[in-house]
């Protein structure tokens, strides 16, 4: 276990060293990520300057959703950003390399192409989350800290699960990025808002089929004492739901990887 961790650390460091060779690209990359996410919150701010609220949610409360979702996403990216390379790995037969080494192939995939620029998302997420929390009037308790920590960890796992699951399609169809992009869209477009604004069917799909509601909306509803169509304790389920989804995703991925055929080149 210790050996595995050291190896993963070394792989990550090697790829960071590689990326630091292009310092300008690195800086623009981090800024690009932060800017892109920052603009999302600027858009919400601009709209709420005119409309003051979105349903019963004010700017700080929407920012809390945004901050929770983005921090979870940033955390997911820190570990899984190299998943985007899976198509190339399979098409070019590079997956061979991962199979002959004595570390779990998924772990290797996580760290061989560690994208340092994704730190922009994590930093931006934490900044928005802190700003939002400081503007919300709540009496802090240990339970609240646990709730937020669980939501971020569980949210990151949910994000990861719904990227690893479509990634397993690569072993059969060689290309899986379209499916991954669509799930990424669903999380990033729908995760920042109270799920129930997306209508009866829409919000059920976003809760039970692709559980985006668990990333920010349900835990935030406990914190802000808002009504949802589910009992309020469901806001505590983000971490367990995340763990279950992640386990299923990894199992499916490993099953699917048995169908891997090297390109032979």
């Amino acid at each position: 276990m210790k050996h595995t961790l050291t190896l993963c650390g070394q792989m990550a460091l090697a790829s960071i060293r590689g990326q630091m060779q292009y310092r300008f690209s690195f800086i623009i990359g981090v800024l690009g990520g932060m800017f892109f996410q920052g603009l999302g919150i600027v858009m919400i701010w601009a709209i709420l300057e005119t409309f003051t609220s979105l349903g019963s949610w004010g700017l700080a409360e929407i920012a809390l959703l945004y901050g929770l979702r983005l921090t979870a996403h940033g955390l997911y990216l820190v570990f899984f950003s190299s998943l985007y390379a899976i198509d190339d790995f399979v098409r070019e037969g590079q997956y061979d390399r991962l199979l002959v080494r004595p570390v779990h192939p998924l772990l290797q995939l996580m760290f061989t192409d560690f994208r340092i620029t994704v730190l922009g998302d994590l930093i931006g997420g934490i900044a928005i989350l802190v700003a939002a929390l400081s503007r919300i009037d709540i009496e802090w308790s240990a339970a609240h800290v646990m709730l937020i920590t669980g939501a971020i960890l569980g949210g990151a796992m949910l994000d990861g699960a719904f990227q690893i699951l479509p990634a397993s399609l690569t072993f059969r169809f060689v290309e899986s990025w379209p499916a991954r992009v669509v799930f990424d869209d669903v999380f990033s477009r729908y995760g920042n808002y109270p799920t129930d604004i997306f209508g009866g069917i829409g919000s059920r799909v976003l809760t039970f089929l692709v559980p985006v509601a668990f990333v920010a909306w349900l835990p935030a509803a406990i914190l802000l004492q808002k009504e949802t169509f589910l009992p309020s304790w469901t806001g505590w389920l983000t971490l367990p739901v995340g763990i279950v989804c992640m386990s299923v995703a990894i199992t499916v991925f490993m099953r699917a990887s048995r169908g891997y055929q090297s390109s032979g080149s």
Binding site: L39, I47, L54, D185, R189, Y190, Y193, I197
Partner: protein, 268 residues
């Protein structure tokens, strides 16, 4: 450079680009799915912020949904491809062969862009029914609006090309433009008024954006289409776009004169 001998060459560039749009038509399904997800989210968000109101500052919710629907279609149609193309050619080093051709590099890229534009027009027809169901589609209310929109849309396209060309040309100095492109793409989506119409922005921001050329890329035609800009104001909007086109064209030419000497050819 004389026009007559270069015309067939430029036509060939256009034709090539046109064929390429169709070569990627399998991507169309993905594009439709992603944009419908976007459109549905925007529709529901606007519906939620309107809440019990049907009108806000004189803007009906229906108008807003029409705005985001047409905005999405317009963004697809008008997205210039040349800047990405320049970046790719610089990275691969194939820019060398583009530069030695007897036809100017900029005209080649413009011909390329036009090919992509023509190629995408029929694809819009495929998207329309989806856009009508998920968003909302209505014809412009009057003939005056329709004509004004058409003119403003053409100018918006020219503006988009002129704004994106220098972004692509940054590659002549930095080689890699992926980060810059991404940055520009998200900033432009906001400052062009495609994400939020200028009329719903806080005063200071709205005034600033009105004085910048970017609103002419998206907001100007859209505000005509939904009937917010009418009568005499349509002429002012179009004139503003035209003035920016002249200024930006001069700027692009000036940058190009410097970029062409900064070129580095990659690979051997």
């Amino acid at each position: 450079m004389t026009i007559s001998p270069s015309l067939p060459a430029l036509k060939a560039c256009t034709g090539m680009a046109l064929q390429r749009t169709w070569a990627y038509r399998s991507r169309m399904a993905l594009w439709i799915l992603r944009n419908m997800l976007m459109l549905f989210s925007m529709r529901m968000i606007w519906t939620a912020v309107y809440g019990d109101r049907t009108v806000m500052n004189g803007i009906h919710l229906d108008m807003m949904i029409l705005y985001v629907t047409i905005g999405m279609l317009q963004a697809y149609l008008l997205e210039p491809i040349a800047s990405g193309e320049i970046a790719r050619r610089i990275q691969r080093g194939t820019i060398a062969s583009d530069l030695v051709r007897p036809v100017g590099f900029l005209p080649q890229m413009l011909a390329y862009d036009i090919g992509f534009l023509i190629g995408r027009i029929p694809l819009i027809a495929i998207v329309l029914p989806f856009a009508a169901i998920v968003g909302s589609l209505q014809a412009p209310p009057t003939l005056e609006t329709a004509v004004g929109y058409a003119v403003s849309l053409i100018l918006a396209y020219v503006l988009s090309v002129l704004v994106w060309l220098p972004i692509g040309m940054i590659g002549f100095w930095t080689i890699n433009t992926t980060g810059i492109n991404f940055l520009a793409y998200s900033v432009l989506a906001f400052v062009s008024g495609q994400m939020v119409p200028l009329w719903f922005l806080p005063d200071a921001l709205r005034t600033t954006l009105r004085w910048l050329p970017f609103q002419g890329m998206s907001y100007a035609p859209l505000s005509i289409y939904v009937g917010e800009t009418t009568g005499y104001d349509i002429l002012i909007t179009i004139a503003t776009q035209a003035i920016w086109i002249v200024l930006l064209a001069a700027l692009v030419w000036w940058i190009w004169q410097r970029a062409r000497y900064a070129v580095q050819i990659q690979g051997g």
